[in-house]
Symmetry: C2
Subunit: 493 residues, 2 copies
């Protein structure tokens, strides 16, 4: 339906190009003048705001509070936790100076060599270190626990190959950081937040996910256990959509955070951290959209309904506008967000293509014939099906339709995932099957060496060891050694 400048490369031709086209043409984001850093455009940001609002509500319902910690982290903090520095210090932006000055040669400004920092500062790639250094001052006794903080922030990792939303140097995210008196409580928190993420992904983003545990190779740098939700994109590649880490006492030990227990002994504090990022935007786009553009779940669409008037002259335009204002009121009273595009400089056909590209779940069109018949044309974005409906009771119909769309796109994604998830029992078969994409459920002997060999030879990684589902033991497809259960292999974003 989209035409001319707005046309997308079809998915079948080049999935990756289709994604790039869509992000740009639907006005979601674009690259900036700074390598790897994106500009999130208003329409893209409006979707992110919906994601934020819903997650924030869920975090608060589970007892968390927001706070804000510094952007900059002293270099020495990064070194306190041995694995953490290995994982993060190699790819970060380093602030070395705090002043510019006029170039004595008159050529703009230069870094002032007299303004060198004694200790370099790192732009946070994640905030465990600065936060645990802060928590040290907040925690004395078990009465100060738990601490349940979340932060909405920007972070920066110096990625070499970047793609809009999926992998950018700077990205937006939330990071929860909690402190607990016992290992059990911290572990329960990590699992609780995993479930919050899975609930959000499935019931708001309409993305089916597998909940699981990461293998040691894929674990967060500094964690004892990393839980994750894994989604499957339409091209058969996996995407990690959120992680929740049980950090044990690693950061408490690194920053010397001890507390007096109820029994009047001293112990190090137990920690979790958990996060999702603007990467979710990439998952949202790649799970549901089609060759006509974005398909948005109604629960996250900036507006759920757009109304386009079809008229030949100003008189007709005015008559339709009046009729539409009544419809808008009914829809809004029913809790539906709606936009009326009465812009006179664009033709209806252009608008139809534009709102398809932008993934508005429902489009209503009203012309003079509809006015006479007291009807309206209803178009649903997910199936591209159009029908004419009576205006009487339209708000109930649209409300139901939005629920149907939300359920339908989840089902579509779920059915697709089911169709490309299969058990594979030999490594030879694995090498053939992995080329076709999807989730391969295989037995693995649990060693990093076998995982590494598979990754090197096939570019597939273990996405997770699923928490639910088939727990039948078997034999590793590569080494024949015992395996406790099948794990999920895939190529991934």
């Amino acid at each position: 339906m989209a035409t001319g400048l707005k046309e997308l490369t079809p998915r079948s031709e080049n999935y990756s190009q289709w994604y790039n086209d869509l992000v740009i043409k639907a006005d979601l984001a674009e690259n900036s003048a700074v390598r790897g850093c994106m500009v999130i455009k208003p329409y893209g940001y409006a979707i992110w705001e919906k994601i934020q609002a819903e997650l924030d509500r869920m975090f608060k319902e589970t007892g968390h509070q927001n706070a804000y910690f510094p952007l900059l982290i002293p270099k020495s903090f990064m070194c306190r936790e041995a694995e953490h520095v290995e994982g993060f210090a190699k790819e970060c932006a380093v602030v070395t100076h705090y002043r510019l000055k006029n170039d004595p040669d008159g050529k703009g400004v230069i870094v002032d060599p007299d303004a060198e920092l004694e200790e370099e500062l790192i732009i946070r790639p994640t905030s465990e270190t600065i936060i645990w250094n802060t928590y040290k001052g907040w925690i004395n006794s078990y009465r100060d626990l738990p601490i349940l903080c979340n932060q909405w922030a920007n972070v920066l990792r110096w990625e070499m190959r970047t793609r809009l939303f999926l992998r950018t140097a700077e990205f937006l995210w939330q990071e929860g950081h909690t402190a607990h008196a016992t290992s059990e409580e911290a572990m329960a928190e990590a699992v609780k937040m995993l479930n919050v993420y899975a609930n959000f992904a499935e019931n708001f983003m309409a993305i089916p996910v597998i909940k699981g545990v990461k293998s040691a190779n894929e674990r967060f740098a500094g964690a004892i256990e990393t839980f994750c939700i894994e989604a499957l994109m339409q091209d058969g590649k996996a995407l990690q959509a959120g992680t929740s880490h049980f950090l044990g006492q690693n950061f408490a030990k690194a920053f010397d955070v001890k507390f007096i227990t109820k029994e009047n002994t001293q112990d190090y504090v137990w920690a979790t951290s958990w996060g999702v990022s603007t990467r979710l935007m990439g998952a949202l786009i790649m799970t549901h959209s089609d060759d006509n553009g974005l398909v948005l779940p109604p629960k996250l669409a900036p507006y759920q309904v757009v109304i386009v008037p079809i008229y030949k002259n100003a008189e007709q335009q005015a008559a339709i506008a009046e009729k539409v204002s009544g419809i808008m009121e009914k829809l809004r009273n029913a809790g539906i967000s709606v936009k009326f595009d009465n812009n006179d400089t664009k033709k209806p056909g252009w608008k139809f293509a534009e709102y398809e590209l932008k993934g508005v779940p429902v489009r209503l069109a009203m012309g003079m014939r509809d006015m006479e018949n007291n009807t309206i044309e209803v178009f649903r974005r997910d199936t591209l099906v159009k029908e004419t409906m009576p205006l009487e009771g339209i708000e109930a119909h649209i409300k139901q339709l939005l629920d149907d769309i939300q359920a339908n796109i989840f089902k579509k994604a779920f059915d697709y995932r089911t169709s490309v998830t299969r058990n594979v029992d030999s490594y030879d078969e694995f090498k053939v099957e992995i080329e076709k994409g999807g989730f391969l459920m295989c037995h693995w002997d649990g060693t990093p060496e076998t995982e590494e060999k598979i990754k090197t030879e096939t570019k597939a990684t273990i996405r997770c060891i699923p928490l639910d589902g088939d727990k039948t033991p078997g034999k590793c497809m590569v080494t024949g050694k015992p395996s406790a259960q099948r794990v999920v292999f895939a190529r991934n974003y």
Copy 2:
């Protein structure tokens, strides 16, 4: 009322120390391990979230959309607008490298000399440059205008002397950046946003403000005209609470952003920018609070009402809790946010002091006597007045009380400001009066030289040239030259 560790230095003894005590002891914010960067603690952040939510609603109602632009700005961008670089480049954090590596000597990590950036990147002190470089790609014709974007973000300015909320290296803010086809439209936008800020300050923060124009000396670096709202703190010092800039075509020229006009000619685009920051937290604290702690306007309090039970045993505690749950429901249904502090490890007296310190507008206390009498003790934070009220109709009473508190603290601040605002007509008198604090309304000849002389000799600056009020001309108190109207002088934060 606060006791022991929670006690504040009285304002009369040391206002500055009182402020620092209050910010720390009411759990609003604290200094971090990074010089000049603060940690905003959950209770402080909850107030900031209320501020954000209300402003964001106002921005959207006036047609603005949120977007997000990069944290880092290429050094060369800062130099494009001559005045802008003078104003901002001298106090910024400079990223020169993008990698750390293990120290060959085994002493932690060092900056990798092989990872030096070709061009240094600046952490944004404000985003005009990166945004106008982006707008260049968004604007071709008058049909693309106006662009009405806002960004919620962190920024960083390398301040030498910092104070929590009032002046920190990193701070949180919103920055609006709009692009227009005509000078008139841009000017109208700048004034519109000034009015939004004034409305927010007066009707939500309960802070009376003077709307005005900055003198050339105090203008934003790169602006043609800077509008501001100026508030007066309890110690008689002024605080700039928000600014809105008419930028003319300065940034459009610096980044070559032209558009085709309706008349098919070419012109540079007209710009505004406007912002408020976490500095507002400082204004909020210093305007209303007292020696017992924070006083919050009900419209921005994280919770408006706290209920404290008074009991002797578990049975009484349970009976009161049951009674309170009914009261909470009534209050919540009336749109009032309420917290029930049923924590058994703290005494009522401790709780009373704690919630006074934290500025909760209304405290309700219920003991066995109240249970019997069907009454409740109602304490209002602003006047510290306590009375016993019947439970019947309590929700209507509290709703009215919250409105009264909101109005009363505004009036108190307004009356204080009135009491310390006076006309001063001679420079000798000025030198005496400025020591007493407050706003001095004086005639000034309009020259930067006279303003500079006054600043050097008295540490007072022109806070603004008021838009409203007395416009009678007169003679400059220093030079005797003609003056168009009185302007506002004060010492300031």
